[in-house]
């Protein structure tokens, strides 16, 4: 009996026939279509009994415009809106998709924040963009759009004409305000109460939206007692471009270059994440050479991103020289990416069923030389960073997070691996040419900033070795397959290990030339939501180190 059927059996035993079970073509994910009232019980059961400890993403879908592509099983519980939950088990290495129908009139669903804390921001996003209200959510307010925004943009009936976006005085604001709605900055309210009761030892400090310690425009409202952080509240959305909405108005191929632009540091992962999801629906595989090229480019992108993280980490902690050294090597990675993809920043390298360009022997030779020099240079960085006792003092024991809390908060990538959890989509949920390559997943135990530094340094070493391996085994053959007109029907989710963690793209196609819905779960968004948990009780200087350890990328957060 396979893992999937065991899980289905266990759920059946617990909940009976009150839901629809399905397994996708590749036996990669189980689809459970359930009624709203048992959602929370099901989630609790999955988490506690079946070890589904990681909530990948929550997607809200407006199905009212959907003509084709409806799976028959869903007819049982069909409604205009639908919440789609994806949860992953680190131990069982399988994906469960839970679908819950939500009525269009007064849409609401039970909040699952007390099952997985990571649902907090994702439910806020669903509320913000789709207008689904979550009963029992501790802090339900807009997250990406400003407070004064009118309407919920991802709804299919959202009016996209200028001048209709702002709430006017005549508008009924109740529609957008819940009973337990908090003010814009909850901390301000608390401070005002403190002033009344003369407890004014605390002060509010706003870090951002423009601040050298932030790696982009976002706002952290800090409540400080002296220099110690008592509480903090994050406000993001300054770079929100509505890419998920734009996707619905572009053709499948037109959206390819846009998918690069979630985050400029991990453009390739973002792009391939979308490509893989569409390929999954189309049921096509890229040729072997294209798979290897994807692997090489993904790792080059990882190196470039990690080198920028190391540079920023140095600046954050006061070391000015590391920045220039790491940028020197990052430049080489960009040179290689440019050689293969033609671009230095947003590569637009993925194609459905392949990649854009092939590489020649010159690239292979140059890449090998670069990797050889790079590994020597990596030792120099370790001397510069690890050799400094101040670096140890600043990062050890700072921003500590336990494995349990990290899983609960949905943290992925180096931040999760530095707590001792061996979770990496490259091994667990393989894609591209990773199953054919031999590499290790580095982990550490402590879960502090220093541990995540060590994990990333090891990853750079391993990435360069993966590139060497892939270059040695690079097969001959075409790099593209001819697919003809692309009008996929169905839905799929892809998971990719980007440099910062897991990026998951959930795509629905209804046989049209445009995607019906594209939902992206970026690692940065979820990792940053754990900032409050990681930094309470530490000092301002530690907060900067913790942000450096999280390595946020604002484009990916706001999309």
């Amino acid at each position: 009996m396979s893992v999937n059927s065991e899980i289905i059996q266990a759920v059946k035993d617990e909940f009976g026939e009150g839901m629809v079970y399905a397994v996708d073509r590749k036996e990669r994910r189980i689809v459970l279509t359930v009624k709203r009232n048992i959602l929370k019980k099901l989630c609790k059961f999955l988490k506690e009994k079946l070890e589904f400890d990681h909530l990948t993403s929550i997607a809200a879908v407006d199905r009212s415009g959907l003509v084709n592509g409806m799976i028959e099983s869903r007819l049982l519980y069909y409604d205009d809106y639908e919440m789609v939950y994806h949860t992953w088990s680190h131990s069982k290495k399988t994906l469960v998709e839970i679908k819950v129908a939500v009525p269009k009139k007064n849409p609401s669903a039970p909040s699952i924040t007390d099952v997985w804390s990571t649902a907090n921001w994702q439910e806020r996003e669903a509320f913000d963009l789709m207008g689904v209200k979550f009963s029992g959510h501790p802090d339900l307010r807009r997250i990406l759009m400003p407070e004064w925004w009118k309407g919920h943009p991802l709804r299919k009936d959202y009016e996209m004409s200028p001048g209709k976006w702002f709430l006017s005085d005549e508008d009924e604001k109740e529609e957008y305000v819940l009973d337990n709605q908090k003010p814009v900055f909850p901390l301000d309210q608390k401070l005002a109460e403190n002033v009344k009761t003369e407890q004014i030892s605390e002060m509010i400090l706003r870090i951002g939206p423009v601040h050298p310690g932030n790696h982009g425009p976002w706002l952290i409202n800090l409540k400080l007692d002296g220099e110690v952080i008592v509480d903090l509240d994050t406000q993001i959305g300054y770079q929100h471009r509505g890419l998920e909405k734009i996707a619905e108005n572009r053709t499948w191929t037109q959206y390819l270059p846009l998918s690069d632009r979630y985050c400029w540091l991990t453009a390739l992962s973002n792009n391939l994440s979308y490509v893989l999801a569409v390929e999954d629906i189309l049921d096509v595989e890229a040729p072997a050479r294209a798979q290897y090229l994807r692997t090489i480019m993904l790792e080059l992108n990882r190196l470039a991103s990690h080198l920028l993280w190391l540079a920023a980490m140095g600046i954050d902690l006061g070391n000015l020289s590391g920045f220039f050294y790491t940028f020197r090597e990052r430049e080489w990675m960009l040179d290689l990416l440019e050689m293969a993809a033609g671009n230095r920043l947003n590569y637009n390298y993925g194609r459905f069923g392949g990649v854009t360009f092939d590489v020649d022997d010159k690239f292979v030779k140059k890449a090998k030389t670069t990797m050889k020099i790079f590994r020597a240079r990596l030792q120099e960085y370790i001397d510069l960073y690890d050799g400094s006792s101040i670096f140890h003092a600043r990062t050890k024991g700072v921003g500590t997070i336990t494995a349990k809390a990290a899983k609960d908060l949905g943290v992925t990538g180096p931040l999760l691996r530095c707590t001792g959890v061996k979770a990496d989509a490259r091994k667990d949920d393989p894609y591209a040419a990773y199953p054919e390559l031999d590499f290790k997943i580095p982990t550490r135990k402590n879960g502090d900033v220093y541990a995540s530094y060590e994990v990333r340094m090891d990853e750079m070493q391993i990435s360069s070795e993966i590139i060497d391996q892939a270059l040695d085994n690079l097969p001959k053959g075409p790099v593209q397959s001819n697919l003809g007109r692309i009008e996929p029907v169905g839905e799929a989710i892809s998971r990719i290990e980007e440099p910062r963690g897991e990026i998951a793209t959930y795509v629905i196609g209804d046989g049209n030339d445009k995607p019906y819905r594209v939902r992206v779960r970026c690692a940065e968004y979820i990792n940053v939501s754990a900032l409050g948990h990681m930094s309470r009780g530490y000092k301002i200087a530690d907060l900067i180190a913790i942000i450096g350890g999280i390595d946020p990328c604002l484009g990916g957060m706001d999309r």
């Binding site: 220099e227 954050d316 070391n319 000015l320 220039f324 050294y325 030389t369 101040i390 003092a393 301002i540």
Partner: protein, 377 residues
């Protein structure tokens, strides 16, 4: 762009930039020497002369000092940028004048043209006064630094004590700069600065006791003269050799007072956005920024006087040049430290100051006392 190691070599353009830089620094310091000569000439005119009227002498001297040390501070920024650039495998400023030598002038002109912004909610008077109050004492302390055996701007018997007293006025100005603009970053930076100055003032002064006790004098010239001569004919009798422990305490303490990496928490740009200068613009900002460089010169000069034999040195090079060379050596050492070290945290800096440096300085004073009691009598 260079991909291979040999390409990187092309970034090196020979020793000329360094020579020109050092020459530029020497010219700047030479200007100080010229001022010194003028002063000694005035001193030889006799007390009745017009130029020796204390008021005239004071006003002209102050104006000259402001010009010379101000220019020196400006060129120190260029030296630092060039030096750091070389450490960081890049060029540094190289557009204005040969090898970027006019860069500080361009910077100064640009900053002078900047709009002077006073926020509405600021305490205007405090904000306007703060740069002056902070900046003036750091200039005043140069009056007691002996550049040569004959030239001290103001020769007083309590020279070192005067320097310490004047230095401790700076935090008042910085606190004003923190309070005046009504900005939380300014306030945090100023509080950090005050806490840091307080913590390191004590070990700094305690470390000074060593050379003072050896010289039996608070006068700068006397302290330097006490270091004259050689052990075994070739090791100079500088205080740094017998009092190595004290020298390290003094060096760390004055590095912390200066507020540079690794102790630059008052103006940590990634945390408190350059601290107490956050809200300032134009010339007020320049004054607060130059504070760091003037402190750097002053601290290094004091270190040279107390521990490295001041202007003493073998004769082909004159006393003033010896002093300048030693000064540059100490300054470049601090710049190298700045280039490759990380920044410490506020509680770590306090721990280092109060729990390690202070007891160490006290022990050091005790040892020196015992040593002197055994040897001098």
């Amino acid at each position: 762009m260079g991909l291979y190691a040999e390409d990187q070599e092309q970034l090196y353009h020979g020793p000329i930039p360094y020579i020109i830089l050092l020459a530029g620094a020497a010219v700047a310091v030479g200007a100080i020497a010229a001022v010194g000569i003028v002063f000694s000439y005035i001193g030889s005119l006799g007390p009745a002369s017009f130029w020796n009227n204390p008021w005239v002498r004071g006003i002209i001297g102050a104006a000259l000092w402001a010009a010379v040390v101000g220019a020196g501070g400006l060129y120190l920024t260029l030296l630092e940028r060039k030096f750091m650039a070389r450490v960081q495998v890049r060029y540094g400023p190289n557009r204005w004048g040969p090898y970027g030598l006019l860069q500080p002038v361009a910077d100064a002109l640009k900053l002078m043209r900047k709009e002077d912004i006073i926020p509405d909610a600021a305490d205007s008077l405090v904000m306007r006064l703060a740069p002056i109050v902070a900046f003036a004492p750091s200039f005043m302390l140069f009056a007691a630094v002996p550049w040569t055996a004959t030239y001290v701007a103001s020769e007083m018997d309590i020279g070192v004590l005067y320097i310490v007293a004047v230095t401790s006025l700076t935090p008042i100005g910085v606190l004003m700069a923190g309070w005046g603009p009504n900005n939380k970053y300014n306030l945090l930076g100023a509080m950090r600065f005050a806490a840091q100055e307080l913590a390191y003032e004590v070990p700094l002064i305690l470390a000074m006791i060593g050379p003072i006790a050896v010289a039996q004098s608070l006068n700068g010239v006397a302290i330097v003269e006490a270091q004259a001569g050689y052990w075994f004919g070739f090791i100079p009798k500088w205080n740094i050799f017998p009092q190595f422990f004290g020298a390290i305490i003094f060096f760390v303490a004055f590095m912390a007072e200066t507020g540079r990496i690794p102790f630059d928490i008052p103006d940590a740009e990634s945390e408190v956005v350059h601290g107490f200068t956050a809200e300032y613009s134009g010339m007020k900002f320049v004054m607060l920024l130059l504070l760091e460089y003037v402190h750097l010169i002053a601290g290094a000069a004091l270190f040279v006087v107390l521990y490295m034999g001041g202007y003493l040195g073998p004769s082909p090079i004159n006393q003033f040049a010896w002093f300048t060379l030693k000064l540059l050596f100490v300054i470049l050492l601090m710049m190298l430290i700045r280039a490759v070290w990380f920044r410490v945290r506020i509680d770590q800096i306090m721990n280092l100051g109060w729990k390690i440096l202070l007891p160490a300085a006290l022990i050091n004073v005790g040892f020196i006392g015992v040593f002197l009691a055994l040897t001098v009598q």
